[in-house]
């Protein structure tokens, strides 16, 4: 499983070897912090889960567990499936004691969160990453952070394509990120054709032999058919410019999103063949359980998580850590 940047990005370039391995301490730090936040939240089961809830395996215990998952936005169908599985296994006597049950529950949740290949293949030159999502889910910010990591941790050169030509000042926002991340930005006037900007960005990356081109797109609700069609067109334009591209199509999902996230993922997948989810804003009290439902029902894996507003606050997704944070249990 991808746990560090170098495990996440398949860079196919020896420059990547130059990057310093990430300090273990720092990586652990976040989830400890995340767990702290969740513990503060009224509903976190945490220690209680191990200590008392599983002491008596009655209906109340299972209901309490169900509520914890529902509260994390895992959704009713996935919750029911997981709880039922655990209940069956507990009933057959294979699991004794709260600790064993909690451990098994974490395993089940982590398994559900795994949805296929969770690496990002950047071996093509230039490798093209298309970033899509609903308004306000953190696309532009995510792009800024990815660019920063690619440059600073993997030593790759990056071009950003400002194809969000719809939202007022979106280009300026991406330009500000480009500056912080040390990436050049290909831009056009507000209201310009997003396909043309994407085309230019890939062209620039190609002619100047840059390693990666990341294309920002305008936020759009998945229900706006004409806008989804426009997005599909942007993807086709990129493919025409560089056959096989985009090599990765990411969808940003806000961790506070409820069951509608499933619809978002489904419709974006249909339009642009999403290959990975970026779960953003996971540093709030929201637990992002919708990502589990998406991985489970659509088979689209989470690849990255956003845990804060700083440049370094984007991390590879780790299903086991995620499962533990979801339940608010310590250890691991």
């Amino acid at each position: 499983m991808a746990r560090t940047w170098r495990e996440l990005f398949v860079a196919g370039d020896d420059r990547a070897e130059l990057a310093e391995p990430e300090p273990e301490e720092q990586r652990r730090g976040f989830f400890a912090r995340l767990r702290d936040n969740m513990a503060k939240s009224r509903q976190a089961l945490g220690a209680e889960l191990q200590a008392s809830v599983f002491q008596t395996l009655d209906d109340d215990a299972w209901e309490r567990l169900e509520e914890t998952l529902i509260y994390a936005d895992v959704g009713a169908p996935t919750t029911a499936a997981i709880v039922q599985r655990l209940e069956t296994e507990a009933g057959s006597g294979g699991l004794a004691g709260g600790e064993a049950l909690t451990g098994r529950l974490c395993e089940l949740l982590a398994d559900a969160a795994r949805g296929g290949d969770d690496t990002i293949d950047l071996r093509a030159r230039p490798a093209v990453v298309l970033v899509t999502g609903v308004n306000g889910t953190g696309k532009t910010t995510t792009i800024g952070k990815i660019a920063w990591h690619l440059r600073n941790e993997l030593g790759l050169s990056v071009v950003l394509g400002a194809a969000d030509t719809f939202r007022a000042a979106a280009v300026e926002q991406l330009a500000a990120w480009g500056e912080r991340a040390g990436a050049e930005v290909v831009r056009a006037a507000e209201g310009a054709d997003p396909g043309a900007v994407a085309y230019d960005a890939v062209e620039v990356a190609r002619s100047r032999t840059r390693d990666v081109a990341i294309i920002d797109t305008a936020g759009r609700l998945h229900t706006q058919e004409h806008l989804m069609e426009e997005l599909a067109k942007v993807r086709r334009v990129i493919d025409r410019q560089l056959p096989g591209a985009p090599h990765e199509t990411l969808l940003t999902i806000d961790a506070t999103t409820g069951q509608n996230g499933l619809r978002q993922a489904l419709l974006f997948k249909q339009a642009v063949d999403v290959t990975g989810i970026v779960l953003t804003k996971l540093d709030g009290t929201a637990k992002g359980g919708i990502a589990l439902a998406i991985a489970q029902e659509l088979g689209v894996p989470v690849k990255l998580i956003g845990i804060g507003e700083g440049l370094e606050d984007l991390r590879p997704f780790d299903p086991d850590d995620f499962a533990r944070a979801l339940l608010g249990v310590s250890g691991g």
Partner: protein, 443 residues
Amino acid sequence: MLETLSDRLQSALSDVRSRGKLTEEDVAKAMRQVRLALLEADVNFQVVKEFTAAVGERARGGEVLDALNPGQQVVKLVGEELTALMGGSARDIAFAPRPPTIVLMAGLQGSGKTTACAKLARHLREEHGRDVALAACDTYRPAAVDQLVKVGSAAGAAVYEQGTDPDPVEIAAWAVDRARAEERDVLIVDTSGRLHVDRELMEELARIRKRVKPHDVLLVVDAMTGQDAVNVAEAFSDAAEFDGVVLTKLDGDARGGAALSVKAVTGKPILYASTGEKLEAFERFHPDRMAQRILGMGDMMTLIEKAEREFDEEQAAELERKIRKQQFTLDDFLAQMKQVRRMGPLSGLLKMLPGVSGLGLGDLKVDDRDLDRLQAIITSMTPEERAHPEILNGSRRRRIARGSGTTVQAVNQLVKQFGQMQKVMRQLQQGKMPSLSQLAGGR
């Protein structure tokens, strides 16, 4: 995507009618469906728990037990209770007796705050004729000030900004002075989006609030928010003591249960809903529509209520008697048609049916003018002609066509259709199943 709650309850309670009694178990079954529907709509599970308990209590009462259609009655009950929980018809912001009225907008990052500021400005300008200014106090997100300048001027509002360097509290205070000096009616203060765990930014919001003393503080909430909506609302309630809610991104297909959770937990009303990308896609909030949306059932509730209101039981009994005795006349036909039409235009009624709006039947041809013409033809007939259409000869038909502004062909068609209708009624009376082509009027 999902079955509507209505469908689910129908199937869950389908056998109740034949038994004529709703058991404890039936109610529990129904409440489980209600619970699922609400959870799928992202209503907070604690709220769901209390809600289903309360509704279950009422469902065991007489109004559901004695109803012919307990499934539909339970849906109606749930809808009523949801609407009540969501609060009555919402108010606009409260205008201060001495302007400027100051409105502080707060909300999480990405909830649509900046856009909502501009939309509210436009709403107050267009609907209330107020002169509105916007204060750009989101100094945190890159380019947020630029965005407000752009959407603000598109909304016809003055935008006060000092870039991103000064303290947002100072910008807000400066903007209030300027709004007063320029005699603006309303000043809307945009603030940074924030993750509510960020204490520093929450404190900034509290400081702005303390400094500018807003008349209304509005919390902007994304309709797609899940269970976390309650935490958000509580955190903002502590920091900003907001007075009302603006619900955004309602043009998607999210059920918007977050709205209910926020209202239930904080007791603060939802004032406005943002329903599209355009600046004018912004309206006062309608609790009843939201309730229907959460239940995933179109405007079924309105349809049921309309039918209830318009349907006169005595008239219905009289109609049934006439059909039995084969005395159904064109007058009765006219009365029937009017009764249905009182519920609104047919195209509108169709859209209220669950699932229809999602089928892309927007341009389905339901022409109300066809009904206008039918009505005109019948009212151009004498009472005798209406009771005995068989006396309609050529000259009578020409007169009716002239009187109704239609053609003889149109009159002929109506008479033919009516004849077929009577035939179908006779067959039904005799217990025969009429063919589909007969039901369709043989066209």
